[in-house]
């Protein structure tokens, strides 16, 4: 089996702190080191990559994830050949192109047209190749208006920041590499432009190119990668199936985000004028981490209520779903919206939520009895940990991430 990319026990160190740029500063430093018999390496190096090994097959899409400073970009620069490892071996087979080069070599005084040729030459395209792809580059950049020629012959210093970056990406996306390195592509451009970037990656994938992608956007990793690697402080801590690797990182992140505990999820203190009890999530699996649902599985809840002396016509039941990690309120549903009011002082509510569109994540679900007129709820029950399990073979659109809808709700009051 021929691998497109091989990382064999790669070590890479950087100097810590500012290096002496003038001889005046460098000579005393050297003398000092001689006097104290300390080598330069001991005092000021840190290892950005420690004994990292992985292999990528031809045609595979690998995601590299990790928190800031984990060594992701260092790995990419080594792959791009910009730097060499201190120890170990980096092997790439085929033409490497890198999407971090967007706009590299652009000169503000030159027109868009001149810069396309310049940037193309810098990233290894021939002049005839650029001429052939010129129209397509301009279209990719999103200047596809009838009067785009006005822009293309204007010095790029008069471009907006977005136009500038888009043009850089457009040129970079017209190289036909065997290995493509992508560093956080999602940060630029509008949805349409991002879609073009992903279409480009799709077409490369179809032509059996190898793609290595660094991203902080987990949906992108899950959507586009075959496999993922999790880096932490310069070492691989997890490797393999994308969902599992992404999960490990997300758990770690949410563990560290302790400034936002569930206790802080907003809710007002119940007035205690009603009672809500015997809450059952009928179809949930109970795990040690809380309740567990499969992705897209309907949620069935039942509970008993006692309205005590409160006016029945003013009483409503509601469900509120919060995303646990950031307290985002996904949706709220009231029973009175669909004309359901309690007919008795005491009774049972059965509730089924279908098509809720909750993405794999951790949630908090509040059940409330409250007054239609508003103010604080009469009674609240909080389910602190509801987990929607990640699913295989389900296409999660990045744009949908965070867009929730209550979907199909049925109430049954008795």
């Amino acid at each position: 089996m021929e691998y497109a990319v091989e990382f064999n026990n790669v070590w890479k160190s950087f100097r810590r702190g500012e290096r002496a740029m003038l001889l005046r500063d460098a000579i005393p430093l050297m003398l000092n080191r001689l006097k104290h018999h300390r080598s330069f390496k001991e005092e000021s190096t840190f290892w950005a990559l420690k004994d990292v090994s992985f292999k990528v097959k031809k045609g595979e899409v690998l995601g590299i994830i990790g928190q800031n400073g984990a060594g992701k970009t260092t790995a990419l620069t080594l792959l791009a050949g910009i730097m060499k490892p201190n120890k170990g071996q980096v092997i790439t087979r085929g033409k490497v192109s890198c999407l971090i080069i967007a706009g590299a070599g652009f000169h503000p005084q030159f027109t868009g047209r001149e810069n396309i040729y310049l940037n193309g030459a810098v990233i290894g395209m021939s002049k005839s190749e650029i001429t052939r792809k010129f129209d397509s580059i301009v279209e990719f950049a999103g200047y596809g208006l009838p009067d785009y020629k006005k822009f293309i012959d204007t010095p790029v210093k008069r471009y907006s920041a977005g136009m500038f970056v888009r043009l850089g990406f457009a040129v970079a996306a017209h190289v036909d590499p065997d290995i493509l390195l992508v560093d956080e592509i999602i940060a630029v451009g509008d949805a349409a432009f991002q879609q073009r970037c992903f279409n480009y990656m799709d077409s490369l994938k179809k032509s059996n190119a190898t793609i290595i992608m660094v991203s902080h956007s987990m949906p992108n990793i899950i959507n586009y990668c075959d496999r993922a690697i999790l880096l932490k402080e310069g070492a691989i801590v997890a490797e393999g199936e994308r969902h599992k690797v992404v999960d490990i990182l997300e758990n770690e992140i949410s563990k560290n985000m302790n400034w936002f505990s569930v206790e802080n999820v907003p809710t007002s203190k119940p007035r205690g004028e009603a009672v809500l009890k015997n809450v059952k999530f009928n179809n949930a699996t109970h795990t040690k981490d809380g309740l567990c649902f499969n992705f897209a599985q309907q949620i069935e809840v039942s509970f008993n209520y006692d309205c005590m002396d409160y006016s029945l016509s003013d009483t409503t039941f509601s469900v509120v779903v919060y995303r646990k990690r950031d307290g985002c309120r996904c949706f709220t549903v009231f029973s009175h919206f669909s004309g359901h009011f309690p007919s008795k002082r005491e009774g049972c509510v059965q509730l089924v939520i279908k098509d809720h569109n909750l993405l794999p994540d951790n949630y908090v679900i509040d059940l409330e009895i409250s007054s239609i007129k508003g103010s604080a709820p009469l009674a609240v029950y909080r389910e602190r940990s509801v987990l929607i399990k990640p699913a295989d073979n389900i296409y999660l659109n990045a744009q949908l991430y965070g867009l929730y809808q209550p979907g199909n709700i049925s109430w049954h009051l008795s």
Binding site: F14, R15, R19, M21, L22, L23, R24, A26, T77, A80, G81, I82, M83, K84, V96, C98, I100, I101, A104, G105, H107, Q109, F110, E114, Y117, L118, A121, V122, I123, G124, S126, K127
Partner: protein
């Protein structure tokens, strides 16, 4: 031993092959820096003539006014001075811009791989265009002073090639040095104007002691190079092989050692810039 030497030759060939593979980038960068240089200027590329011409006029005035007294033999002083200033200005200009080239293009070095040798070489190539443009004045002066052309003028391209080899060799060392220690840039800027006075630019270097003359010629290859230009263009003499043999060897070894060293450490550039 033989194996080691063979590897070194391969190493050098690889470096040259890589530069050739990126020739399109080399030319694009060279033309780019010329365009950048003269964009938004009123006189444009005519500025290439300004420095050698104005320097020549000043020294002609100084010579005419007898502040200095230069014996140039049968050659009229203006054309003597211009014929020295032209290659000298090219030498200084290309060394200055080649020295800072790696740092100037740091944003490229940090982002993308290409043979870094391209940067100092393209700095030299763009100054070569200036050199050709300023040569027009020399041709004008030759017409004005009725300089007779001799067949020896065919050696001019060879002399130019030797000068280019010298410049490139030095540029590799200086640009690397400047990348690691910015002092190098200041040293080049400070030393080059002084060096003009021990080179036969505005007056011939004629020392009484032949040993000293030989030493000067050997350590400063620009003396025989400029002398050879004058011999070939103005005097119609073939360059003296005994004079230029040592400088040629020096230039070639500078280039080869410079290129090999450069190729060996270029992977350190990105993190040290």
């Amino acid at each position: 031993m033989a194996r080691g030497r063979r590897n070194k030759i391969n190493f050098l060939l690889d470096a040259l092959k890589e530069i050739y593979a990126y020739r399109e980038l080399l030319f694009t960068l060279s033309t780019r820096s010329i365009k950048v240089h003269y964009k938004q200027t009123f006189f444009g590329i005519a500025w290439a003539i300004f420095t050698p011409l104005s320097t020549m006029l000043i020294f002609t005035f100084i010579n005419k006014a007898k502040i200095i007294n230069v014996d140039t033999g049968s050659i009229p002083y203006p054309i003597f001075a211009y014929c020295g200033l032209l290659p000298w200005m090219f030498f200084v200009g290309s060394l200055n811009s080649a020295t800072t080239s790696l740092v100037d293009y740091g944003h490229l070095i940090n982002k993308i791989y290409f043979p870094r040798e391209i940067l100092p070489v393209s700095a030299i190539l763009s100054k070569l265009i200036d050199f050709f443009i300023a040569s027009a004045v020399l041709i004008g002066l030759m017409g004005f002073y009725h300089v007779k052309l001799h067949i020896a003028i065919v050696t001019v391209p060879i002399i130019l090639l030797i000068q280019l080899i010298l410049t490139a060799g030095l540029s590799f060392f200086l640009s690397m040095g400047h990348l690691f220690y910015r002092d190098v840039g200041y040293i080049v800027q400070g030393v080059m104007p002084l060096l003009m006075f021990i080179t036969s630019v505005i007056y011939p270097i004629k020392v009484k002691s032949p040993q000293l003359q030989g030493l000067l010629t050997a350590v400063n290859p620009m003396i025989p190079i400029i002398d050879s230009y004058r011999d070939a263009i103005l005097l119609g003499k073939w360059p003296n092989p005994a004079n230029i043999a040592i400088p040629i060897c020096l230039c070639f070894s500078l280039l080869i050692i410079g290129l090999m060293w450069f190729h060996k450490v270029e992977h350190l550039f990105a993190e040290n810039i």
